[in-house]
Structures are given as structure tokens and as C-alpha cells.
């Protein structure tokens, strides 16, 4: 707290020659950066084991992480007001791309999620929305006064749910869930009345069974069935979760040791380097390894909430808290799913699971958090 206090006084530190001074000038928040680096470094170790000691996999992931940290560095330089100014434009652009995906998206594994730009590569427009939706909602509230009123709630719901439904149609349940969370969390911190929250939860409880029958895809429905009774089809749909729990449970307190997890190394654990990578850590690192990971995540989330606490205006506060809490949603949904608390939803373990655009998006989000923190003005009070 002491250094934190000092860091809020750039005038006294601007000529400091130590590393944190340099980081500060680069608009980087050293505690958050340290936690992220430890998390990503440890993640690479787990990935090396999960990928059957495949160094290639680790190198590719490291390159991707490097790209993510580049994005973090760049986005940290952009002042929050610029984000606020561009939020509606980026949101509208992302929405347009999502519509485009519906028509000309590239299909892979039964879902149409990718947009291919000839000569450049392909990307998932849904990833943009993970940042654009909370930014847009935060922008909306920055123009209104808090607490959120019913009219605001309706508009925010529209802003959030339109992209969410577009993403869900691809179908990509995991991402749509995270985008929805990002938008709705802004609503929550913006002071949505508890009565409305409880009403919404009540409505959800009623709607869930209806969703199950009328909205979910058969593959999603099967996942829900499996969640409630994985032993019904132990060799088919239940296989993943049974093997995952077996991996976690067999790890015990201290684990089987790095590179010694039989469940993952002998291929019993499916998707061991992607969505189910936590099971690898739990098997090889035991409860101790898992608690260390949870501690790191808690540090990242705590620092995020700390940054929002100290943010100086509504847009920054709302955006920062949404980013931090969305990160928590990632953690909770993935670990809950892998340990059998939640149905299987395609949400990766943030910063550790192999692959994809999500790592870059996540680190970009932390870039925005750092920008918010390092672009504050000294306040008298």
C-alpha cells in the first residue's frame, strides 16, 4: 500500500531511475504485470507437460503470449478518454463484423466463428466484443448519472444481448456467456438495484428449463445432461468430466509431480492442453499447485478491483471493474467446469490454456486496465 501511495505521486517519482519507475513511464502497473508474468510463465510449464513435452506447442504459445504483452503495452499507452471516445465506433464495427461472420464466416468444428481476411489471416470478431461491449456499456453510463435506472437497464440489455445472441448463433456458448457477463457486470457495478437483480435471477430460474428445451443446441443439451449425470455415458459424453475429476482427485495434496500425471500423459484426459489444462496442473501439482494458481488469479483480480477503486471517472471505473470481474468469470467457469461444479462450457483457463485469440484479448484488456491506472491525474482529495 505504501508503494501504491507513492505511485500516485508521479511528480515525486518521475525522476526515479529504478525499474518500476521505468515501468510507470511505460504506463505499466508493476504488481499486475508481475502477477501476469508469473501466471503466464507457470502456465507454459503446465502446457509443456499437458502437450506431452512438445516444445513446439510451448514456443507457439510463448509467441502468442508475446503478442498479447505487445498488445498490453500498446493499449496501456492509450489514455482512457480515447477509449471512451472510440467505444461506440468500435462497438458498431464489431457488431457489423459479427453479422458478416453469419454470412461469410469460416466454418470449423461445426461452428462458424472465424472471419478470414485474405492475405492477413483469420480472427474471431467475437473476441473484439469481449472488450467492446463493456466499453460501450461503460460509455453509456458515463453519459448518464448513477444509479442505473430501469430505462438504462433496458438499453444496456439491448447493447449487450444483441452481440451475445449473434455469438450464440455461431454457435459459441462460452464466448457469448463471457460477453454477456462483461456487459451485465458493468450494470451491476453501476448500481443496478438489488430488486431488479433478484427479479432477473428469478426469471432466469424459470427460463432455464425453457432455454434447455427450445434454445440450446443438441450438443449443448447433451452437456447439460452429462453435467447432471456423467456416469450415464461414461465412454461418450461423460468421458471428459469423469477423466477430469479422476485426474484432479488422483493428484492429492502434493500431486504426482511435473511430467508424471498419468491421466494426461497417457491420453485419458481429453483436451488436456486447452480447456481441461487445470486438471493437468491439479494432477501433477496437487492441491498445493491449485491453491497457488487460485492465489495468483486472486492477486490479478484483486489488483484489477484495486485499480477500479482508484479510477477517477465513471467510464474508467466501470470498464476496469468489468474487465477484472470478467476475468474472474473466466476462472470460475473454467475451474467449475473442469472440477464438475458446472456443465461443460467451452471456456479456457485464462492465460494458461493453449490457443487462440482469447489470450491476446485478455492481455489487451489488462493493457486497458493499466492505462486506466497510469493515466490518472493527481487529485487533491
Amino acid at each position: 500500500m505504501n508503494t501504491e501511495f507513492l505511485r500516485q505521486m508521479p511528480s515525486s517519482r518521475s525522476f526515479a531511475t529504478n525499474g518500476s519507475g521505468l515501468l510507470w513511464r511505460l504506463h505499466l502497473d508493476s504488481p499486475l504485470l508481475a502477477a501476469l508474468l508469473v501466471l503466464c510463465g507457470g502456465g507454459l510449464l503446465v502446457l509443456y507437460s499437458a502437450g506431452d513435452s512438445n516444445a513446439d506447442l510451448v514456443v507457439r504459445q510463448a509467441i502468442r503470449l508475446g503478442g498479447g504483452f505487445m498488445a498490453l503495452l500498446i493499449l496501456a499507452q492509450v489514455p482512457p478518454r480515447t477509449y471512451r471516445f472510440w467505444a461506440p465506433v468500435v462497438y458498431a464495427g464489431g457488431l457489423a463484423l459479427l453479422v458478416l461472420v453469419l454470412f461469410i464466416g469460416t466454418e470449423a468444428k461445426g461452428a462458424q466463428r472465424w472471419l478470414t481476411v485474405p492475405g492477413v489471416g483469420s480472427f474471431q470478431p467475437a473476441e473484439i466484443m469481449k472488450l467492446a461491449v463493456p466499453a460501450m456499456v461503460a460509455w453509456y453510463f458515463s453519459e448518464r448519472s448513477l444509479p442505473a435506472r430501469f430505462r438504462d437497464v433496458v438499453l444496456v440489455l439491448v447493447i449487450t444481448l444483441v452481440p451475445v445472441l449473434l455469438i450464440a448463433r455461431q454457435p459459441d456458448l462460452g464466448t457469448s456467456l463471457l460477453v454477456a457477463a462483461a456487459g451485465l457486470l458493468v450494470l451491476f457495478v453501476a448500481g443496478l438495484s438489488w430488486r431488479l437483480i433478484l427479479a432477473a435471477l428469478g426469471l432466469l430460474a424459470v427460463a432455464a428449463p425453457l432455454m434447455y428445451f427450445f434454445v440450446l443446441h443438441p450438443y449443448q443439451r447433451r452437456r447439460v445432461d452429462t453435467f447432471f449425470n456423467p456416469e450415464a455415458d461414461p465412454l461418450g459424453a461423460g468421458w471428459n468430466i469423469i477423466q477430469s475429476k479422476t485426474a484432479i482427485g488422483s493428484g492429492g495434496i502434493s500431486g504426482k509431480g511435473w511430467l508424471n500425471g498419468t491421466q494426461s500423459r497417457l491420453d485419458f484426459l481429453p483436451e488436456s492442453s486447452t480447456d481441461f489444462i487445470l486438471a493437468v496442473l491439479a494432477e501433477e501439482g496437487g492441491l498445493i499447485g491449485v491453491l497457488m494458481l487460485l492465489g495468483l488469479y486472486l492477486a490479478v483480480i484483486g489488483r484489477g478491483l484495486f485499480i477500479s477503486w482508484h479510477a477517477q471517472e465513471t467510464f474508467s471505473r466501470l470498464l476496469a471493474s468489468s474487465l477484472a470481474l470478467t476475468f474472474f468469470i473466466y476462472v470460475f467457469v473454467n475451474i467449475g467446469m473442469v472440477s464438475g461444479l458446472l456443465p461443460v462450457v467451452g471456456v479456457p483457463l485464462p492465460l494458461i490454456s493453449y490457443g487462440g485469440t482469447s489470450i491476446v484479448t485478455l492481455l489487451a484488456g489488462f493493457g486497458i486496465l493499466m492505462s486506466i491506472h497510469t493515466h490518472r491525474k493527481l487529485m487533491s482529495h
Binding site: L235, G249, T262, F268, L291, L341
Partner: protein, 631 residues
């Protein structure tokens, strides 16, 4: 910075935001606690359960099937061995689209509906993922090549080699060896738990013949190995291994030369030949024609092949030698004669006039001799040589059924011989008690008269005829026939006559005259023989056709002819082979069955140069002391 469009209570907004942030932090902490608690539950409290599950995943106990014992004939000729069979299997988890792949495979190899049906059944039943599911066995080399060329286009398709039973002589030994085929649920249900464990790696089970009777011996003891595998079932390391105990090889009394001679001599005619070494009870030849190809049954006979066998009017799957039931006819006259002599109702001097028929006093019913004009003055010797029925009608009537029955059962008639093959028929040796129990009728004199020439109710299998002849050749010493060269069990039958009885020599002499005498009924078989043969011919009347046999005038005429029979042994003074031959619808025993018996005897008694050279008995100790002494 902020556009002051509306009035804003910054203090209030900050308060709301801070409160919510604290709420968020609290919820995050609680939910993180939930995750940590869940992990604690799985990793600390439920740890033992999951470590067991994880080991069960990883460590597999696999049964190793013991290699099945081989079967040899007495010359060391291989009759049943194990050969690699190439089968095509699918690792379903690697196959992108099973239907497409099946269609592709069907273009390369012949697939029957039953193969595909069986495949789907296996796919749908509970199984380990990544385990290959067999689709078709017995790929030809051409099929293997055709699949190999396109295998890279069909992921998950593999060709495996497994040992399967092979019978190099195809039909020749079919009815005596039997065959193995896939073990099934019923086989396993019949076993004790220990036996089931012993079969845990085995895919085949003996069905008939030697394969069935000596199943335990041939099978051996299962081995086990504990292996660490990955989820694809690939073995990464062997943790522990108990090797299997291979099945024992079984050496048979059968002699391929004698078997082949019997097979060839019978030719395309329906019938059976049993050749036996009377010295030790060893079966030298066991032929029932037509036979079948046991190799077709091993990996599951196709529906088409099976219908061919099943619908064949000649019934190739029917074991005539073991299960066929035929009236023995005149072949039993020497034994019936001994019974009469033993009972004292006749002797070698007694003569009688045969007018061609026999009539009981005070009754009008006439029992005809096979020769209408009669044999004139006949005695026992002539009645054997010329097979006079009238003499035996008279003698049988005087002896009565009780004494006849009690004497003949000592020649292994009317009960199982105890051969080491499954499914033996009992035959019928009628008695008053039998007729009352089975027919519910009293015994009539006419029944006795029919029985005295081996007709009426009496039924025997060709095997029983051979065994009764062997007991005759052993001078009443009972013997249990054996296919395999293992210690024979003691016969439960008591000897009929003392081996010293002078009747043996005279009866044997009469049987020698059947073959070598000028008027013998089996003169045809004696010509050019380098040893003396004792034999007796017979014909068995065919009474009726089976119900479901179709009407075909020419066919029926052929199938209504009498069955031809002959029993005999050689050399007459030192028996080393006993032969019983049945030729269905063969007509006369002497002319159609006799030459078959002769060729079988030649195959055993003559060496390759065509000279008499009597092979030693397989089990010398089994020769009865009294029989050896008497020579």
C-alpha cells in the same frame, strides 16, 4: 473531460460504485473459496477413490490365451494346428465416418450382411474406447493387398494376425476331430468361475470329436500380464507377467494311411468305416462319409455354406460311425452262435434241414431265409459261412431272448462303448424289460426269432459293431475304444466266455471260411490276401424313408436298397486290426462292404513294399495277457 450534460451527484455515484465494488470483491472471495473447497473435496477427501480410478485406467490386466495343443496321428502327421489368420478391424474412434468407411471396405473385400450386423452389435455393446472392433476374418492374400493399397485413405482400418485352428486334411478327419469355433456366452455359463477365468483370453472352444472331448487338455492354462496402457490401449510397459501354460499336444491312435484307405475305399458312397487295433482298443480309422470341411466352421460358417450342408440329402454333418443306428443283421451271427453254444441249445455237430423258411410249431407265420430255396443240411459252421438264417431262427428260439440278451451285452451291444468322443449313440439290445418299458408290450416269440439274426428291434452303430468284433478277437476280453493315445479306462463289462473256450477257434475258423472258403459270402474280399481274414457279412433292411425326404422315384429306389455291412479282423490267428464297414444302400455286404474292409486291412498290415508287416500296438501293456498267451 466529462461532458456535464446532466447534473451528477459525484459523491453519491462514487458511493454506489464503491459499495458495489466491495460486494463484487466479497462475491469473488466467496466463489474462489467455493473453488478451493471443491478442489479440497476432490483432492484431499476423495483422493483415495480417484487414485484407484486413475490406476484402473492406467493399469490393465490382460489375459494371454494359451496356444492350443496340436493333434497328431500315430505317425506324427499333423491333423490340427494353429495358423495366423488375417482379419480386418476398425478402431472406431479413429474412423471419421463409419458408414463411409464400411462402404469403402466393402469395395475391397467381400462383406456379408452377417459380418456387418455382428460388427454393429460389437460397436454398440459396452467396450473400451480405441479397442479394434473386428469386421471380417480370413482375409485372402489378395484382399489384404487390396486393402493395404488404400489403407492410408481409411484411417482407423487395420489388419491383424491372430492364430486360429487349421485342419490341413480338410474333410478327411472331420467326423473324428470335430472342430473349434468361437466361444459363446452359453459355453461360459456352463463353466465354473475358475474355468471362466481360464478362458478369459480364449476365443475358441472345441465343438465335436477330439476337439471337444480333450478340450481341457488341448486348451492349457491362461496367462496374465499387468500392463500400463494409454487411453488408446497402446501398451507402454509390462508391469508383471505370468506366462500361459500351452495346451498339450494330443497324439491319436489314428493312422493317416489307414484313414485315407478307408476314405478312398468308401468313395462317394454314404457310409462309415471303423478300424481298430484289438490289442489296445486304439481307433486306427474313423470315417463317416460324406464329411465336411471343419475349417469352414472355425471363424463362423457362412449362412450359404451351412445351408448347403444342412439341406444336403446325404447329411454330411451326420456322424454315421458314431451316431448312425442300423440293424446289425447277420454280422452278429458269430456272437449269437457263441451264445447258443454257451447256452447248450446247440453244438458244432448238430445239423438240421433248411427248407428256406422256419415256422414255429402250431403257428402259421413263416420266417424266411434270405435264400428262398434254402441251404439244405446245415450245421453251425456252414450257417456262419453261408449265413443261414433258418439255423439261427431255430437256435435263437430254443435259447430264448433272456439268455441271448445277457450274453450279447458283454460284447458292448446296447450301450455306449465309452469311446473318447462326445455324442455316442447307445444302440438297442432288446430284452423283455426293454420292450415293456419302451413299447409297453410283452415279448413275443417272433421278436426272439428276429433278434437271432440281428433284425427286429436291434440297432447298433458302426462303432459298436467294431467294438463287439474287437471283443470277439480278444476272445471275450472287453475293451474300451480309444481315439487318443492315453491310458485307456478299464471296461465295466465282464468277459462273456473264458478265453480258453474251444468255441473261439472253431467260430474264427468259420469266419475265415466266410472269406477264404469256396462258398463264403465274402469271397470277394479274400482274393490275393497275404494273410488270413476272419469276417462276417450282413445286410440291414431299410424299412422306411424319413418323413421330410422328397419323393424322387430313382432316388428312392436307390435309397430303399439294403445297407451293406461287414465286420472282420486280421490276421485271423493273431488279430492286429478289426474293421467294421457300413455302406448305406450298398446291397450285399460281401460284394460292396467287403472290399472296403480289405483295403483298410491292407493299409495297416502291409508295408510299403506290399509285404505283411504287423505294426506294433501303440500301447503294448494293453494287450490282455490271456489273449497273448493263447496264441
Amino acid at each position: 473531460m466529462r461532458s456535464p450534460m446532466t447534473f451528477r451527484d459525484h459523491h453519491n455515484e462514487g458511493r454506489i460504485f464503491s459499495t458495489r465494488l466491495l460486494w463484487s470483491a466479497a462475491i469473488v472471495l466467496v466463489l474462489m473459496g467455493v473453488l478451493a473447497g471443491r478442489m479440497f473435496w476432490l483432492q484431499a477427501i476423495q483422493h483415495d477413490r480417484y487414485i484407484t480410478l486413475s490406476d484402473k485406467n492406467r493399469v490393465q490386466t490382460q489375459a494371454i490365451a494359451p496356444p492350443r495343443g496340436l493333434i497328431f496321428d500315430r505317425r506324427g502327421e499333423l491333423l490340427a494346428d494353429n495358423q495366423p489368420d488375417f482379419s480386418l478391424a476398425l478402431i472406431v474412434e479413429q474412423v471419421p465416418n463409419i458408414h463411409d468407411t464400411l462402404a469403402l471396405v466393402a469395395e475391397k473385400i467381400a462383406l456379408e450382411e452377417a459380418d456387418i450386423e455382428r460388427f454393429w452389435r460389437r460397436v454398440r455393446s459396452p467396450r473400451r474406447p480405441w479397442e479394434p472392433v473386428p469386421l471380417r476374418a480370413r482375409l485372402t492374400e489378395e484382399e489384404i493387398a487390396r486393402v493395404a493399397v488404400v489403407q492410408h485413405e481409411m484411417p482407423g482400418v487395420r489388419i491383424d494376425a491372430n492364430p486360429i485352428r487349421h485342419y490341413p486334411h480338410d474333410e478327411l478327419f472331420s467326423h473324428v476331430l470335430g472342430y473349434v469355433n468361437r466361444i459363446n456366452a452359453e459355453d461360459l455359463e456352463r463353466m465354473t468361475l475358475d474355468e471362466q477365468a481360464n478362458y478369459s483370453g480364449t476365443h475358441f472352444y472345441g465343438r465335436l470329436g477330439v476337439e471337444r472331448h480333450y478340450e481341457r487338455l488341448l486348451h492349457g492354462r491362461v496367462g496374465f500380464r499387468k500392463v500400463e496402457t494409454n487411453a488408446r490401449g497402446r501398451i507402454l510397459q509390462v508391469l508383471e507377467q505370468i506366462p500361459p501354460l500351452p495346451g498339450e499336444d494330443v497324439h491319436l491312435h489314428l493312422d493317416i494311411r489307414v484313414q485315407q484307405a478307408a476314405w478312398d475305399a468308401l468313395g462317394e458312397r454314404r457310409g462309415a468305416v471303423i478300424a481298430m487295433d484289438p490289442r489296445d482298443g486304439g481307433i486306427l480309422a474313423f470315417v463317416s462319409r460324406p464329411g465336411f470341411d471343419p475349417n469352414l466352421f472355425v471363424t463362423g460358417i457362412s449362412h450359404r455354406d451351412f445351408s448347403t450342408y444342412r439341406d444336403d440329402l446325404d447329411r454330411p454333418l451326420f456322424n454315421r460311425a458314431l451316431q448312425g443306428q442300423y440293424p446289425p443283421g447277420s454280422t452278429l451271427k458269430p456272437i449269437t452262435g457263441l451264445a447258443g453254444l454257451d447256452a447248450g441249445v446247440t453244438d458244432w455237430q448238430r445239423t438240421m434241414w433248411d427248407p428256406g423258411y422256419y415256422r414255429l410249431e402250431g403257428q402259421s407265420r413263416v420266417f424266411r431265409d434270405w435264400r428262398r430255396q434254402g441251404h439244405g443240411w446245415v450245421d453251425m459252421h456252414k450257417s456262419i459261412v453261408e449265413s443261414c438264417d433258418t439255423y439261427f431262427y431255430d437256435m435263437g428260439f430254443k435259447m430264448g431272448i433272456d439268455r441271448m440278451h445277457d450274453f450279447k451285452v458283454r460284447f458292448a451291444l446296447g450301450d455306449r462303448t465309452g469311446i473318447d468322443l462326445p455324442g455316442e449313440a447307445r444302440g438297442i439290445m432288446p430284452s423283455r424289460a426293454w420292450k415293456r418299458a419302451v413299447r409297453g408290450e410283452p415279448w413275443f416269440h417272433g421278436d426272439t426269432i428276429n433278434a437271432s439274426i440281428g433284425q427286429g428291434y436291434m440297432l447298433t452303430s458302426p462303432l459298436q459293431l467294431a467294438v463287439s468284433t474287437a471283443i470277439f478277437a480278444r476272445r471275450g476280453e472287453p475293451v474300451v475304444p480309444r481315439v487318443a493315445q492315453l491310458t485307456p479306462p478299464a471296461s465295466p463289462i465282464e468277459p462273456a466266455l473264458s478265453p480258453e473256450s474251444r468255441h473261439w477257434d472253431r467260430m474264427t475258423a468259420a469266419m475265415v471260411d466266410v472269406v477264404h472258403g469256396a462258398r463264403g459270402t465274402a469271397r470277394a474280399m479274400g482274393q490275393g490276401a497275404k494273410y488270413r481274414i476272419a469276417a462276417k457279412t450282413g445286410t440291414a433292411q431299410v424299412f422306411s424313408l424319413g418323413k421330410d425326404e422328397e419323393y424322387n422315384a430313382e432316388e428312392i429306389a436307390e435309397r430303399l436298397r439294403d445297407h451293406a455291412l461287414i465286420v472282420g479282423f486280421a490276421p485271423a490267428d493273431n488279430p492286429a486290426i478289426v474293421v467294421a464297414v457300413l455302406v448305406e444302400n450298398g446291397g450285399s455286404g460281401g460284394s460292396s462292404a467287403g472290399p472296403v474292409a480289405r483295403q483298410v486291412m491292407d493299409a495297416w498290415l502291409l508295408n510299403e513294399a506290399g509285404e505283411l508287416e504287423i505294426p506294433p500296438a501303440a500301447i503294448p501293456g494293453a494287450i490282455p495277457a490271456l489273449m497273448a498267451e493263447h496264441r
